[in-house]
Amino acid sequence: MRGRSAILFTILAVLILLLFVVDMMVGSVGISVRDVVAALTGGECDPMTRKIVVDIRLMKAVVAILAGAALSVSGLQMQTLFRNPLAGPYVLGVSSGASLGVALFILGAPLLGLGGSHILSSFGVAGAAWLGSAAVLAVVGVVSSRIKDVMVILILGMMIGSGVSAVVQILQYLSHEEALKSFVVWTMGSLGDVTFEQLWLIVAAVAVGLTLAVAVMKPMNMLLLGEAYARTMGLNVKRTRTLILLSTTLLAGTVTAFCGPVGFIGLAMPHVARALFAQADHRVLMPAAAMIGAVSLLMCDIVSKMLTLPLNSVTALLGIPIVVWIVVRNKNIV
């Protein structure tokens, strides 16, 4: 079995590298492999091509890898924590929180006559989304520290999320066409709206989130047997829960803030990891989910660019069959 994991990890690493290059080849202008490699390694190529590859597509591809890994790992954490195969990174209201932030920013500000405000526009959609998701998770976090039953936290998160969505709908209902359209476009998800300065923010947040995820691999294995077993094996369940929530806030919150609520990667890819590796050990599943998340989001980005479709439609069309397969197969996986 060790051999199987090693082979799979190698295949995934090669796939990431391949798709990373392919992702930089496709777009409104096709660029050959040779030119992409030349542009990246400083070889000889057209300055315009270099600009497209290095300034635009490289960053998008890096964001795809980071976002895919982050969403998938946070989905794995939520599925194990809540012992529910249909949990995902957004189950605690991360995306509704972010959409409230963005809705207030895009839709609410004009309604209040603050549309042209300089302070607000420099703050950016991403900042608003980050604040929104952080606010919702802070509420969930504070409440959950007083609650013993993890299922209550799940229901609370979903209810807070639904409540927030209702407020967003009111804002949409009251808004003008133009503002509404830019909001809807945000909800479709995009990897291309990240600036170079923001990239470092994403890298830092995802790095901390993934480090926390690595730190809770053993606790998550213990949680597979249920909280009572985990506690009698010496696990501080509350601390573990807090670390997992913090990690998910950083991972899913950051990705949603900068790329919009990208769906289905976090829900479906941990299952692909389980099925491929045939393991329940999070020391294998965590890196596996991260790599499969990266591969899948790169693939979705390539398809969405080739067919000029919104990213979220592609991730949904890829993810839904996988989720259906999980439900139909009906095995106890978490």
Binding site: K218, M222, L225, T232, M233, R274, D281
Partner: protein
């Protein structure tokens, strides 16, 4: 090994067990019997530190449960709960290996010695041949044995089990209790399990702990049979306990 000192257990104003002062020593198999809702699980959970005490104290090898850290507690007492672990992809060996969690580092790295203990634990419950099977492929009896192997791998002087015989058929119930008795006697462990199988408790256990609310009596099995406590608990207008026959009869 387990010492109860004026222990009081319950939830808020609802007191289940009061003024319990007794002890359970190593090398004995003790059955915990009592009607539904009289505090069997609560007592087990209290010993393992999952339940707040209303008063008094529980001491494990001389140290108060409240003072022990969860890591220390995990090296002193192992618990087999009623939770079912039926996860696909999770092998028996992995479940038993989790019993080593209190001893391994932050990432759960297993040393050669840990691996040996896991194999021995599987061997002790007769599940060595199932080591590579996944938890969703096994019967209730086999699952229960794996969970007991996990408790053994935790290498604690005390093992508690909450209704381990609940979903098992007759031969499996007897086999399981004989196994528990052997583990207690051979390895000097104090093993306490809750059960509704009065006949098994009276036949195979060294001691019986009986909850007759709000009192818990712990007596050697023979004494318990003669004490009259069993009659009190299991006799009503339709049934009666026959001390000679050691079983409950319909009137």
């Amino acid at each position: 090994m387990i010492l109860f000192d004026k222990l009081k257990l319950g939830y808020g104003s609802r007191v289940l067990i009061e003024e319990l002062s007794s002890h359970i020593e190593g090398g004995t198999l003790t059955a915990l019997v009592g009607r539904n809702g009289t505090g069997k699980s609560t007592l087990l959970r209290a010993i393992v530190g999952l339940q707040e005490l209303l008063g008094g104290d529980i001491r494990l090898q001389g140290r108060s449960v409240g003072e022990l850290t969860s890591a220390e507690l995990a090296q002193m007492v192992a618990f087999v709960t009623t939770d079912k672990v039926r996860i696909a992809n999770l092998k028996c060996r992995d479940v038993v290996a989790l019993g080593r969690a209190p001893y391994t580092n932050w990432i759960g790295r297993m040393q050669e010695q840990d691996r040996q203990i896991v194999e021995q634990s599987l061997e002790m419950v007769g599940m060595a041949a199932f080591a590579d099977k996944t938890m969703d492929q096994m019967s209730d009896g086999e699952c229960q044995r794996v969970m007991i192997a996990r408790a053994l791998a935790q290498q604690t002087p005390i093992i508690l089990l909450d209704e381990p015989t609940a979903f098992l058929d007759m031969p499996n119930r007897y086999e399981l209790c004989i196994l528990l008795g052997r583990l207690a006697h051979q390895y000097g462990k104090a093993i306490l399990f809750s059960t509704h199988e009065l006949d098994i408790a009276l036949e195979l256990c060294d001691k019986v702990a009986l909850i007759s609310p709000p009192t818990l009596h712990i007596l050697p099995t023979e004494e318990m049979i003669r004490s009259g406590y069993v009659e009190q608990l299991f006799s009503n207008e339709v049934m009666t306990f026959d001390a000679e026959q050691r079983r409950v009869r319909v009137k």
